[in-house]
Amino acid sequence: MGTAARQRNPLPGFGLGLGITVTYLSLLLILPLGACLLRASSLTPSAFWAAVWTERAQAAYRLTFGTSAIAAAVNVLLGLLVAWVLVRYRFPGRAVLDALVDLPFALPTAVAGLVYSGLLVPSGWYGQWLSPLGVPGAYTRFAIVVVLVFVGFPFVVRTVQPVLETLERDMEEAAELLGASRWQTFARVVLPSLFSSLITGFSLAFARGLGEYGSVVFVSGNMPFKTEIAPVLIVSRLEEFAYAEATAIALVLVAGSVLALAAVNWLERRSQRYAG
């Protein structure tokens, strides 16, 4: 295999590069993943089911998937707005706005959690406005959604922005010449072209939300059945030294996100086929 590659390619370093790559990935990825599957397979099917489908675990899955989906949907709206403004308009402060979008990628999630827990308590900067309106502040599901919106915010902007930039204006011009209103042009011409990038952004924000831990532990209060997300449940199982149960719940979480992404992928491919 190595020699065959060499005959076509005179560049050096194939053997060394492949050796390093395979060794590194085996030690850091294959071995831990294998340990995870091995530990889960040590449970009998009924014990596995008993571990992953308790009342408490079900509540955690519902909360995790629900809040992630809501946060991702909010991000689609906000991300589309910000991407549109950044691409289509020129105004003072645009560069700053563009730069700030990336901050949630760089800011440690623990900092985000800490800050939002302070902002959302009834005496906090946001809480003092929210609590008179009857909106629950920190240590509620609402707070989980807020931090997940923060954490996933750059995904939609950064997937929609490049597509919007390369979007041909011909179609919009044609629509306008044919008498479409600005809103009709946006809804019937622009939005369908952005659909697949919006779906991609949604799925990225959603997947990020499913696995998010650092920021949520600060704001959620981690009450079983109420504000306990699945990653928190995994950690509490680990702290009880129930390793097999923790692994089983982890597998459900991973399987859930992979399934959701597969569904989204399928949707996206379908939409591309009809668009093309």
Binding site: G17, R88, D102, L107, G118
Partner: protein, 337 residues
Amino acid sequence: MPASTLARRVDASASSAVLRDRGETSVLAMRPHPLTLQLTVFERKEKRVDSAHPVHADKQQQPWRPAPVRDDPLWLRVALIGAAFATVGGLILVPVIYVFVQALQAGLTTYWQNLWGDEDTRHAIWLTMSVAPLSVLCNTLFGIAAAWTIARFRFPGRAVLTTLLDVPFAVSSVVAGLMFVLLFGMQGYLGPMLRAWGIQVIFAWPGLVLATTFVTLPFVVRELIPLLQAIGSEEELAAVSLGANPWQLFWRVTLPNIKWGLIYGIIQCQARAIGEFGAVYVVSGHIAGQTDTMPLRVEKLFQEYNNPGSFAVASLLTIMALVMLIAKLCLERILAA
């Protein structure tokens, strides 16, 4: 494979600005110039002036454009721009300001005392500043080797390797930590054996490095693969045909070509490594003064109701994030030029 597409997109989105810029320079022929696409508000205003004065239009030699799309009305533009500022301001800017307001509330001396007076906090800063660069170093060396192998050669199993690179993006960081506990913990598969040799991985710094390295594994290599592919191997083939040895080839040809992209990947990797929480939380056992990194210290101080201390550490992390962000912006300028 959905996991791989996910991660590829994470990468694409994280570095989209760079990829965009690269696309403009390297695939210039295939894409129309962005100016012809972006009929922006101000440009259109200028254009209307030009058409009123044909002389000016001739002088500036603007490309001919079809009848321009109608402007969004002023009220709509103002409303949308205002809404965008409100979104980013309320969601991102206010939290950053809040960190510093809280940290500095009791004055600079107290702030300094919270950071340097606390021995455990000092240790956490030191630990983060040693664990994160170590992980980044490992991932950088690996990233160069893997990107070279995957971008320059075709071999069976190449697609599998590429997919594997994306796995850390698809796995929750808590699950990543769990995997290392299962492997190296006292009840794990290799833990008792290593313990017999006197090596402790979990609840010690090797575990922190492993978990951080796992979570940040894709950043450098995912940055380099598209870059190497876009650059192409012509220069390298020329160097080889002129008799360069592999060492010379790397230092004189390949590295100068990829250096900015490499630094870009390292910055992203470092930012994530410093802030990593979930995976590190699981493997560290959070022993104050021993395995508490800065983000873990933030959490512990928060649990102890020591808000000023917690916000002091958080402000330091925020400064690091801002520095990383500014460095990234500067690099994007360089890459665009």
